[in-house]
Amino acid sequence: MSDEKQRGVPFDGAPEEQQLWDSLSQINRAEPGPALRSRFYDALSEASRPTLAQRLAARFGNVSLWVPAVACMVIGLGLGLALNPSSQGTGPTDQLVALQEQVSDLNRRVLLDQLEQASTNARLRGVIAAGELVADDPDLARALLRRASQDQSASVRSAAIDALGPQIASAEVGDELMGLLEGADSPLVQLALVDLVLRHGTARQVRLLLDLARAERLHPDLVPYVTSAVEPTEA
C-alpha cells in the first residue's frame, strides 16, 4: 500500500482522537482472494455480450435508414408493375427474388457503414451482425478483417476475430489473422485469435500456433492453454 493512499483527509481532532487517527494507518488491510479477478472477468464478458434483443436491434434496428428505402422500393415496384405492361410476363416469384436481393444489398450496405462508425458500440453491433453474413460476402470479410487488425477497441478487435470464424481457413483471411497473432498487444485479442485457430484453423495454422507457444512468443498465460489444447491431439 502506498503512503499516498494512507494520507487520508486532513483531520484535526482532540489529541486522543488524533492519536487514534494516526494509529488507524497501521491497520492491515485484507487482500481479496485470487479467484475474484477471474470471476470478475467472467462476469464482465457475460455482461458485455449483447442480448438477443440487442442483436436483433443491431441487425434491424437502424430503422431510419432502411425502412424508408424499402418502402420506396416496394412503392416503386408496385407502380412499375401497374404502369409497365411488358412486366406482366414476369412471374411474382421473380419479382420477389429481385426485391429480396435489393433488401439484402441494402442490409449489407448498412452493415458496412456500421463497421466504420465512430461509436465503438455501433461498430461492435455491426461486427456481430456481419458475422452472420460473412460466409458469402468477401467485402464483409475484408471489412471485418480491417476491424480485427486496426480497430482501436480491444473488444471490437476480439469480436471481429470471433465473427470471422471459419473464414480463417481461406488464404487471404488466414494469412492476415496468423500475422496478427504474434503482434497482438492485448491478451484478450490474442486469446480470441488462439481460440479461433483451435476451433477453425487448418492443420498448418494449428502447428504454427503450437510453434509460437513453444517459442514463448505468445502471452505467458496463453502458452499452457495452447500446449495443453494441442499437444494431446498431436500425440
Partner: protein, 190 residues
C-alpha cells in the same frame, strides 16, 4: 503516473468499450473490497459485492457525467450497493458478525512479527472498536482515512456536502474514541 485517467476510461466504457473497465477494476478493486469488508465483515460477501459493483459501473457508466472524480463516484456506487445488501440481510435476519478472534485473525494475520505485544494489542483493540461502530461512522472513517485526501471527494462519495462530511468525520472519530476508551477501561470487552 497513470497514462489514461479514470475519467477517460469510464467515458470509453460508456461509449461501449467494456474492456476499459478491466483497467478500472485493476486500479480500484482492492480498495473497494476492503471498504466492503469493513462494512460487511464477511470476506465472501465483500468479494461478491466488489464484483457486483464493477458490473453496476458497466451498466451505469453513461450516468457518470464527468462532474467530480470517478473514484468518488465509484465509492458512491459501492456504498449504495453495500448498504442495500446490508438492509436486505437485516430483513432476512442475517446480522453482521461480531468482531471475534476468528474475524480479527483474518484481518490482521499478515501483521509484522516485529510489532511489540502491546502495540499489537492496541491495534487489535482499535480494529475491534472500529468494527463496533455503526456502519455510517465506520464508512466515513474508512474512506476518509484510506481512500480520499480531501473533503470534497469524500463528500461526493458519501453523497453529502463537504461541510457535512467534515462533521460526520468528527462525530465518527469521537464515537471511535469513546468505544476505544471503554475497551481500555474494561479489556474483557475486547
Amino acid at each position: 503516473m497513470q497514462a489514461v485517467s479514470d475519467e477517460q476510461l469510464i467515458s470509453w466504457v460508456a461509449d461501449g468499450d467494456s474492456s476499459c473497465l478491466g483497467t478500472l477494476f485493476e486500479r480500484h478493486h482492492r480498495g473497494i473490497y476492503q471498504f466492503c469488508l469493513q462494512l460487511t465483515r464477511n470476506p465472501a460477501l465483500a468479494e461478491d459485492l466488489t464484483q457486483e459493483i464493477f458490473i453496476r459501473v458497466l451498466r451505469k457508466a453513461g450516468s457518470f457525467r464527468g462532474e467530480g472524480c470517478f473514484k468518488a463516484w465509484l465509492y458512491n456506487v459501492a456504498r449504495n450497493l453495500t448498504f442495500d445488501e446490508l438492509r436486505k440481510n437485516k430483513r432476512r435476519g442475517i446480522t453482521v458478525p461480531e468482531p471475534d478472534a476468528e474475524n480479527l485473525g483474518h484481518m490482521v494475520d499478515e501483521r509484522s512479527a516485529e510489532q511489540s505485544a502491546s502495540d499489537k494489542q492496541r491495534l487489535d483493540q482499535l480494529e475491534t472498536a472500529l468494527a463496533r461502530l455503526p456502519e455510517a461512522a465506520r464508512e466515513v472513517i474508512w474512506l476518509g482515512r484510506f481512500e480520499f485526501e480531501g473533503y470534497d471527494e469524500l463528500a461526493q462519495a458519501l453523497g453529502c456536502k463537504p461541510g457535512a462530511a467534515r462533521v460526520r468525520m468528527h462525530r465518527a472519530m469521537n464515537q471511535l474514541n469513546d468505544i476505544f476508551k471503554a475497551m481500555e477501561v474494561n479489556p474483557a470487552h475486547v
